[in-house]
Amino acid sequence: MDENLKQIALDNRESIVETWKNEVEKLKSQNYTSTISDELFESTNREFANVIFESINDGGSTKSVELFSEKIINLGWPLSYITDGLQVFRRATIDVILGTTKKVDTDSLSLILTSVDQWVEPIIRQLVNEYSGSWENIVSLQRVALQELSAPLIPVVEGITVMPLIGTIDTERAKLIMENLLDGVIRHNSEVVLIDITGVPVVDTMVAHHIIQAAEAVRLVGAICILSGIRPEIAQTIVNLGIDLEKFPTKNTLEKGFTSALEMTNRKLTDLDTKQHFDIEQLIKSIKGV
């Protein structure tokens, strides 16, 4: 009987696909898929129909479903295209089969519903799995990418290292900051480390607490920590909160922080020899004949 129904579905493939296409076309206008070109939509629909029937024919072929879902994911179409499409397919198939069966009693009706479900369900399951798998993959890749960016340590000159922090600091990131900072102090043999918070939008007690702890840990391994990039509004909120940042030097810009880091290591920035500059001016004057 099940084989029988399958045969009916396969025999009426044309009319099922026709109804299905019309229904999906209607969904297109109210769905996110309205930006997709008609030709692409047509050809993808045709392919979708082929995949569905191939799967029914083979009793759940996985290869073509896999290829198709890969294609849809690459196109960036919403998952609802697939789930809606299969719902519509289920409805269309049931309609057509009921139309060809002369006598419908409750037993045969439930048999029809069950078999159609059995055709559609494995496809839905596989497509949804493929989709969520691809999302999970993207999310985990982004997490790794974010983690790489979250606490970078840059050795600028010998003995001076900078950690520029941009964006929100949460507990996990605070741990990473501490680890990278200490690791970097040892590895680069730094005497002074600058933590720059120009890009940190909010400094609340938690963030301040983590920075204080990091600075204290840096002090314990024998280096000095300078906090730079304290904007005026951040300075005011720190004062309002009553946070004590007296244990280490603070500067409002990275530039000033760097200058004082140089001073601490007995160095300073100087302009290159001005004599050469002077010579060139003389040269130009002599050319002009002044």
């Binding site: 929100t168 507990t171 939008p201 909010v202 609340d204 007690t205 909160l241 009553g242």
Partner: protein, 133 residues
């Protein structure tokens, strides 16, 4: 009182969502950058308290219009364990989480009006208002 909006606090990143929304509302009301930073920091503190101690709660924003000035009211409410001794948590340096203990007294200093009500076993409601000058 204007229609208000709220953000549920369940995950650590909800704190960021709450203060971004709060900062946006504050900016639209016409608060300057310093007050925006104060408001965002205050939201951060009270939302973090929800995340740390109550696990589930929400931060609600209301714009209020007084006789001749406007303001922003922030209400943080939760159904958490509640606070046993409120005067103690309002002391600088008192902490149960190993933090700085500057959160709630800090919020009081950051904002213009501050109120905290708590019942052990029922939950806590923190209300803070910043007036537009």
């Amino acid at each position: 009182m204007e229609p208000h909006s709220f953000i549920g606090i369940k995950k650590e990143w909800d704190i960021v969502g709450a203060r971004q929304l709060g900062r946006e509302i504050a900016r639209k009301l016409g608060f300057g950058t310093v007050d925006q930073a104060r408001i965002a920091t205050a939201i951060s503190e009270i939302a973090r308290n929800i995340y740390l101690y109550a696990e589930d709660g929400k931060v609600t924003f209301e714009t209020i219009e007084g006789m001749n000035h406007k303001g922003l009211r922030i209400i943080a409410s939760d159904n958490g364990p509640g606070i046993d001794n409120i005067s103690q948590v309002m002391e600088d340096g008192y902490t149960t989480s190993g933090g700085l203990g500057a959160g709630l007294p800090g919020v009081k200093r950051l904002m213009d009006e501050f109120d905290i009500q708590s019942e052990v076993g029922k939950g806590t409601i923190v209300t803070a208002v910043k007036w537009l000058r």
